[in-house]
Symmetry: C2
Subunit: 411 residues, 2 copies
Amino acid sequence: MLRLFPVKRVVQKSFKPTTRFSIRAITTSATMSVPYKQAAHKLTMIPGPIEFSDAVLGAMATPSQAHTSPEFVATFQSVLKNLRKVFKSTDPKAQPYVLAGSGTLGWDIVGANLISPGDKVLVLATGFFSDSFAEALKIYGAEVDVITAPVGDVVPLEEISKKLESTKYTAITITHVDTSTSVVSDVKAVSELVKKVAPETLIVVDGVCSIGVEDLEFDAWGIDYALTASQKAIGVPAGLSISFASERAVAKALDRKESVFFASLKRWTPIMKAYESGSGAYFATPAVQTITALKVSLDEILSESLDERFAKHEQVSTKFKTDLEKFGLKIVPVNHKVAAHGLTAVYFPEGINGPDLLAKLAAKGYTVAGGIHKALVGKYFRVGHMGYSVYAGHVDTLTKALEESLTELKK
Amino acid sequence: MLRLFPVKRVVQKSFKPTTRFSIRAITTSATMSVPYKQAAHKLTMIPGPIEFSDAVLGAMATPSQAHTSPEFVATFQSVLKNLRKVFKSTDPKAQPYVLAGSGTLGWDIVGANLISPGDKVLVLATGFFSDSFAEALKIYGAEVDVITAPVGDVVPLEEISKKLESTKYTAITITHVDTSTSVVSDVKAVSELVKKVAPETLIVVDGVCSIGVEDLEFDAWGIDYALTASQKAIGVPAGLSISFASERAVAKALDRKESVFFASLKRWTPIMKAYESGSGAYFATPAVQTITALKVSLDEILSESLDERFAKHEQVSTKFKTDLEKFGLKIVPVNHKVAAHGLTAVYFPEGINGPDLLAKLAAKGYTVAGGIHKALVGKYFRVGHMGYSVYAGHVDTLTKALEESLTELKK
């Protein structure tokens, strides 16, 4: 298997948090160009923003380019072409979109472009983010039915089937991985069901913690819209809403009366088509540097096959979860089958104060995330293991730091 | 006067466009941290994205930080506090906002938060961007009246007065500098008029090519909402919508039924308050690296007084325009009084083919912008002279390159 990054253990004996930019010069020549190398720092191992590769961060510092310059047009063209590969789509009528924004903006895009006020939408809820998606769609006038899974589990197919048979839905939303619970839904199985029972229903996938880690076959599974954000498994600093629409989703957006300006796919579709075909076009200024970083990251991601990448994440994730279980910890997903591979939500062990554990880890150089599921606040924490950290060995060193922290706190 | 940047002439004998990141190492030590230094490149002298300082670009490559980490909270806190200074506001009930997005998103914020469907809005139009703002507001249901100025001029105060006396408007929009014509409107005079004739009307300023270059006194002039984008005079790569709301604008937004999710000030107000008070909060992930770059840029901007900064821009702008006139060129604004200080729109001279001139300049290492005013397409071009380029001497070298290009093309 091809190695994406130099697999080097970053042993952080000491570090000091810094916001000041610094590099370690790795040449003695006063004029030679050298690749960017990030300084030692506390490792961000939350479910996004994730750690970024040196090359991606270096691209963030690309000197200014006009948004319609030949240099940037070539960059954006490469990004759009490569996104088709990441979404496993070869349909020329499907359309990638990259907007300045965040993952959340993707929900607005759905609400403002793919549904109309009064439309019925079925939301499969596996945690906080599924519920928030429902809330966003309601603001756009959708009549939302939510099927809520038990905490740590997915929505049973039979319940989805029942709903689809009884009601005509314009769209169904699946949160592929709910970042609050680390539960992964079976998008393929749900899509097969929708195609069978309600083929006219648009299949919308929130892929924020899945795209780039979990398999998502946009064309083969018949997905209509899938969205993510740059700072997740895509491996780029926050600031981009990245999404992909099927031919019928694009048609729907182009046909719908606009209710927003910036998030209007009607405005962006010709712009994206222009950039992908190699010419600049203007609606609103794209985030030149972050898109340049996205180009670098997509090149890195596609330097091995996607399936190899997914296998690598699965392997590291399974080892991490198994290690946690060896330490006596319990993960939030009810079993490994519904547990995501890009992050792990795990209960604090009995007898240990959660904040103390997170502080220990921070002192050892690792930022992990608290829990945000309303039913479990204060009871669990979350570790991100997507992208660069998986290849750079960060998960192994974090596991060691976690084991040490647990031992120290039990004393 | 304090010098913000080393005033160094960047003589570009040769350059090659590159998207690949490189730095010139400026130390012989293998371990010492060195500040980032951008490689020689074609200078982007359009009305945004502008050229960025080395420190700003370096901050774009800040290693990953959690959006709720103490490091990033301190950064964002500094940004929000300093934005108050940039907008010349000391009212604690006024509110700065920084969202991932672009300048255009600011128009959505107005449409979705400050007006309601059916509200009347008066738009003062001095070019393409004023018209687009009107279009955006119509999408949100506003009934828009537009007063269009003659090309290159501003809207006469008497016409505004007549409209305000005859109709009750929820808001008036002023495009402080219309980037398509480089015309600067007298926001102070318009605001005084509104306060006298229709004090209940919200004063909305599109400050995209003004904030950081032209004087804007948010409190003193009684502005209700002013918006800009990071890649303009604020001096940061594209990707941020930056805006400021008065107490009554915030109250209106909090009171209004939400019609959007991501661009809802109701969602963002508590988040911005939390960050400014020194604690993290989550609605959607902020663009950590770009906001870190914004911190650096605001520190640079505020290292001299704003009035000194405006004077410096005025001086460089006046010299540039006068030089152009010496070369026989004519600027688009009808006189210097209505000409902006951060960019210049200028007609191609008789007998010279526009694209040839732009190509000449590109070959000499300068990207300038074509014209986009519908009445003047192909007849003029635009040069940005905001921020870093003003301090780094880029305007002087560009003037020389322009003079040479004109001479060569006349041969």
